[in-house]
């Protein structure tokens, strides 16, 4: 399906689209050229663990092919080796910030399609047994009506495996909205027997500090996973 309007700015896609229909291998596109041009793919040298571009990083924060953050995580015996590698697609620039906020905070689900083709290209190169979305709390899931990481997986035509969940306490509906918002967030396993010796690929929308993904990786590794990698749409 080719859309006539840009999914983000709603501008007309123009003649390009109708022409593209004649060619079978025409790439489906959901963003207009001027929106597309504002996305910056991560290229060049990156940290071998977290995918942070090393180019613009001050050399004092680089150790070999790792960034200083990752070195610190790996020096800590509690976190060492849990997250094998992260891959990210785009730089988290202002445009992507707006796009992602429209997508997840406004709940504009269809924007997941704008990334599908590129995500698919990336995921094909990664070997894994389970593709696992970072879960949302029940409150967030209700608020948004969908899990943004899960939607990214579904829109490339894959089936997410729900190995994790956020720990939640008493029945949510008993609380007022304000109370519902402030619940501590920790992960727990939901299908422990499935994890042993499996290669897990975690999916999240943004890698910022890496702490969410490392928490998830840790609990999966402790349950006997063979390896945990991650993929995020954006690298902050």
């Amino acid at each position: 399906m080719l859309s006539e309007h840009c999914l983000f700015c709603h501008g007309e896609m123009g003649a390009r689209v109708s022409w593209a229909c004649f060619f079978e291998e025409a790439e489906e596109s959901f963003l207009c050229p001027s929106c597309e041009a504002q996305l910056t793919e991560i290229q060049g040298e990156t940290c071998q663990i977290c995918c942070r571009p090393l180019e613009k990083l001050d050399p004092q924060y680089i150790c070999g092919d790792l960034c200083y953050d990752c070195v610190r995580w790996e020096e800590d015996p509690e976190w060492k080796g849990h997250l094998q590698k992260n891959a990210s697609l785009y730089l988290y620039n202002n445009f992507l910030k707006e796009l992602i906020s429209q997508y997840k905070f406004r709940g504009d689900y269809i924007l997941a399609k704008a990334f599908s083709r590129k995500i698919n290209e990336k995921l094909r190169r990664i070997e894994y047994d389970y593709i696992v979305p970072i879960p949302l709390s029940a409150e967030r899931q209700f608020e948004r009506g969908f899990n943004q990481s899960e939607a990214l997986i579904r829109e490339v035509g894959l089936s997410p495996a729900y190995l994790l969940q956020r720990t939640h306490s008493e029945k949510q509906s008993k609380k007022s909205r304000t109370e519902r918002i402030h619940i501590p967030q920790v992960f727990e396993l939901r299908a422990e027997s499935e994890i042993k010796d499996k290669k897990i690929l975690l999916i999240d929308d943004i890698y910022t500090t890496g702490s969410t993904l490392r928490h998830a990786a840790k609990i999966l590794m402790q349950a006997g996973a063979k390896s945990v990698m991650s993929f995020t749409l954006a690298r902050g």
């Binding site: 406004r106 209700f142 909205r177």
Partner: protein, 518 residues
């Protein structure tokens, strides 16, 4: 990889689900069911039963303040769903479906959107179904097919509390043209009628509303002034608050704080109007002409929803669209004109000057000779000017050419982060000429100004845009005239209509003795 095992572990996450059971002719949401009962998403309940009001129920006044005259989403209501449900069961809440279907085609009940390209579908974890949502008004919270719009059911008799002492604190005087219009507005508000005030740029249309608003407020009526632009909301709020010092004024625009204030006088952007439902006894819609034709339908929907069934409707405009002008001519629309400015000088009439294929000149980094000459004259006399251009992408071409003439020339457009600073620099006379897209067609006034348009044949320059642009000139009493030139590569109907409209207004003003002959 194989998906078999991952399917086995794809358990749906438990959240509180927005599915409803029908019990004793009341809808009960799934999380509040005492015993297990089959539930359906709201789309599959044909009607939403409306329980009768229980007068002895002690309702929550905060909830009343929040929902009175509004149509809000569950997400906008801080109360627990038990409390919300209790108010519904006791007949205090009106629940409406956010998306309705006619012949399987969705319509957003909040914003009126019916265009298929503005809807999308997602697997919704609220209702566990495929949910259709409206992308058009998503900035105000997503309305999807499982969404309900919540309103307060008002008891009209208790509601209106008339005032006895005057509320109006204004000592200015109205021009004869304003006086006529003001009296008509009062009459329209008294009779709950629809009325159009057609006032030329600089006529002073806001003052014309004071008496009418005062009358409505004295009756305990709720009044709304809606305008397409945030700037206008920001400008009108302190002005009206000063005129009605004892009245609560709510000021609503994207990101404003007053969102849920249940005030007697509401000043809002038309966008924020979407949160209201049967709220106002008097609705005033400013700058009707500022809306592109495509937006008009959505606007009509918003206005209709926000008005009470019995209410008055005042439209303000400097230039009605041709349909409305025709209705005025044929006597099908009640209207009054204020054909003259407050300062009793006629409106400057635009000159049409043919400037050839200016696109071609620009390709050779030149502007047509007569355009250059016009600019040169302003530079020599030191008179400030606005130079309108049809498209933002012309700026990098045109600005360097003009900068060679004089350094104090800048360009501004809608997304310009320095827009405010540049307009300010124009005010303080640091700038001599400001190149602009149509964003400065309304609102801003500079006292002593000439105006030119390059390429007035472009279709962005509609009749109303051209009248507005011409209306920038001669606004102050000290400098009541000025030059307005449309440089064109072929006259358009819009240009001719705009000039005729201005000439007709001047003629009418002269006949009515509203301007002085020079």
């Amino acid at each position: 990889m194989s998906n078999d095992s991952s399917n086995q572990i794809s358990i749906i996450i438990e959240v509180f689900l927005l599915r409803f059971a029908l019990i004793d002719n009341k809808l009960v949401p799934e999380p509040l069911l005492v015993k297990s009962t089959p539930t359906k998403p709201i789309t599959q309940h044909d009607v939403i039963p409306q329980p009768p009001q229980n007068p002895s129920y002690s309702f929550n006044h905060d909830l009343q303040d929040l929902l009175k005259g509004k149509q809000l989403l569950l997400d906008d209501i801080p109360n627990s769903i038990q409390e919300i449900q209790a108010h519904y069961e006791n007949g205090y809440l009106l629940l409406r479906k956010g998306i309705t279907f006619r012949k399987n085609k969705p319509k957003c009940e909040r914003c009126g959107n019916e265009a298929p390209s503005w809807f999308a579908v997602f697997p919704c974890s609220r209702c566990r179904e495929s949910c259709i949502y409206c992308r058009k008004c998503i900035m105000m919270g997503r309305v999807s097919s499982c969404t309900l719009l919540y309103s307060w059911i008002e008891n009209e008799h208790i509601d209106a509390q008339p005032f006895e002492s005057p509320l109006l604190s204004w000592t200015g005087t109205l021009s004869p043209g304003q006086q006529t219009a003001s009296a008509q507005v009062v009459e329209a508000i008294q009779g709950n009628k629809e009325y159009l005030v057609w006032a030329v740029c600089g006529a002073g249309k806001t003052e014309v509303l004071f008496e009418g608003i005062h009358y409505a407020l004295l009756q305990g009526k709720r009044v709304c002034i809606a305008t397409p632009r945030t700037d206008v909301v920001l400008e009108l709020t302190p002005r009206l608050q000063a005129v009605f010092p004892t009245i609560q004024v709510a000021s609503l625009y994207g990101g404003s704080e007053d969102r849920h204030k249940n005030a007697q006088l509401t000043i809002t952007t038309t966008h924020q109007l979407l949160r209201f439902y049967h709220a106002f006894d008097t609705m005033i819609l400013d700058e009707v002409d500022a809306f592109p034709y495509s937006v008009e339908e959505a606007l009509q929907h918003a206005v209709k929803q926000a008005r009470k069934t019995t209410s008055s409707m005042i439209y303000l405009t400097a230039t009605p669209n041709s349909q409305w002008q025709k209705e005025c001519r044929l006597g099908k629309r009640d209207f009054v004109t204020i054909p003259a400015r407050y300062h009793r000088h006629p409106l400057p009439v635009p000159h049409f000057v043919w400037c050839g294929n200016w696109h071609k000149s620009l390709k050779q980094d030149r502007l047509p000779r007569n355009v250059m000459q016009w600019l040169q004259e302003r530079i020599e006399s030191g008179k400030q000017a606005l130079f309108f251009i049809p498209k933002i992408d012309l700026i990098p071409k045109i600005l360097p050419i003009l900068k060679q003439l004089h350094p104090n020339i800048e360009a501004v457009h809608a997304e310009d982060p320095q827009r405010k600073e540049k307009v300010q620099a124009m005010r303080s006379k640091e700038l001599l000429i400001l190149v602009t897209t149509t964003i400065l067609e309304r609102g801003v006034t500079f006292p002593n100004l000439d105006v030119a348009i390059l390429g007035s044949e472009d279709r962005i320059f509609t009749e109303s845009a051209l009248v507005q642009i011409a209306g920038r000139v001669g606004r102050s009493v000290q400098f009541p005239s000025g030059d307005i030139t449309f440089f064109h590569f072929g006259k358009t109907e819009a240009m001719i209509k705009a000039r005729n409209q201005i000439i007709a207004m001047n003629k009418e003003a002269l006949e009515k003795g509203l301007i002085d002959v020079e």
